[in-house]
Symmetry: C2
C-alpha cells in the first residue's frame, strides 16, 4: 500500500535491535484518514471470505481493526492485556512475548465475544515473530471459531513470522500492507 | 444519541460501586458502525470550533477518538499509560486515578505530538470524576495549545465531573453522547 510505505519511509525511525518507531502513524499518533484507507485495503485483501468478526490486541491493533471492521461491517474485539474489573465470566487466555517490552504479556478475551463457528479475521499493527498473531489464532481455535486469516499493517519479514505461523499449524492467508525486509545498519528497507 | 442509549439500556450492566460494564459496545468489543456514528455526532457537537488535533487516552478512548478524527480529518494522539520503548525525547506527564483500577495511572504524550497554538479537542470513553479529562487538558495547556472542549461517550453525571473541570479552571464545552444520572439500587438510569 503505497501511501503507507511513503509515510514509513518519511517518518519511520530505526531504533536498533529491530525496533521500528512509527509513533507518528500507528503507535501514538494516528492519521484517521490513512487508517481508514488501510481498513479499505485490508478488507479488499480478504474479499471472498465471509468474515463474522475481527480480533485484535490492544493497544495499537485497535485502530486498524476498527477501520477494517467499519468497512466489513462486523464487530471488533480487542484482547485485553490486563484483566479489567468489568471482565467477568470465562476468558480465553494466551501469552505472547512483547517485542518492545521484552517480557511475556497476557492476552485475554471474554468467552462471550468469541462465538463457535464464526469466521474470524485477525488484525494487528505488526507482524514480526508471529507469536502475537499465533496467540490470537489459538484463542479463535479455543472458541471453536475459524481463524480465516490475518492482516497486519507492517510486516518485518526478516523476523520470519510467516514461517512461525505455518510451523504452528496456521496455514491461513496472511496480508501485510507494508513489508520491511531489513533493518540492518540503521536502515529501513521497504519491499 | 438515541442509538447509543438504546445499546446501553440493552447491554449495559451495573456492577456496583459505580462501575458500568459496557464491554460489548466500548471497552472490549466495538461495533465500528455505531462507533463511526458516534464520531459523526461528536464532530457535529463541536461545529463552529476550528479543531487541529484530538487527544485521548488509551485504551478505550481510541475508538471514539479515531471515529471523531476521521470525520474532522485531524490527527489523533492517544496518551500512553506505560512508556513504550519507542517513546524518546521530552514528554508531557500527568497522573489521574483509574476508576476501574483503584490506583493512579500515568498519562504520557510525546511533546512532538502536541503543538503550541493548536486547538485540541479531548475525547474519552467516560466522563466520571473528571480527573482523566482534567489531566489530558493539563497536558494540552502544558504544550501551550488550547483545549477547546471535551467529548465523552458516556457521562456518569452523578460523579460531578463537570463541576470538577470548572473548579480546576477548565470552563470549555463538554459534550456527552449518553448521560447516566444514577446507578443506585443496581439500576442504570439514562437521562
Amino acid at each position: 500500500m503505497q501511501a503507507l510505505k511513503d509515510r514509513i519511509a518519511a517518518e519511520g525511525r530505526n531504533l536498533g535491535n529491530g525496533i521500528l518507531k512509527v509513533d507518528s502513524i500507528l503507535n501514538h499518533q494516528i492519521d484517521p484518514v490513512l487508517m481508514m484507507q488501510m481498513g479499505e485495503e485490508m478488507a479488499a485483501r480478504f474479499t471472498g471470505h465471509k468474515i463474522d468478526r475481527i480480533l485484535t490486541a490492544e493497544i495499537s491493533g485497535i485502530g486498524p481493526a476498527i477501520a477494517t471492521g467499519f468497512v466489513l461491517k462486523v464487530p471488533v474485539v480487542y484482547a485485553r492485556k490486563i484483566k479489567p474489573i468489568t471482565m467477568s465470566g470465562p476468558v480465553f487466555l494466551e501469552t505472547a512475548p512483547s517485542h518492545t517490552k521484552g517480557v511475556n504479556v497476557s492476552l485475554l478475551v471474554a468467552a462471550e465475544f468469541l462465538h463457535e463457528g464464526e469466521n474470524v479475521l485477525i488484525i494487528d499493527d505488526f507482524l514480526a515473530s508471529g507469536k502475537t498473531l499465533a496467540a490470537l489464532a489459538r484463542m479463535v481455535v479455543s472458541a471453536k471459531a475459524n481463524p480465516i486469516g490475518a492482516g497486519c499493517v507492517i510486516e518485518k519479514s526478516f523476523e520470519d513470522g510467516r514461517d512461525y505461523m505455518v510451523r504452528n499449524g496456521f496455514n491461513f492467508q496472511i496480508e501485510s500492507l507494508a513489508t520491511i525486509t531489513s533493518m540492518d545498519d540503521g536502515k529501513i528497507v521497504l519491499a
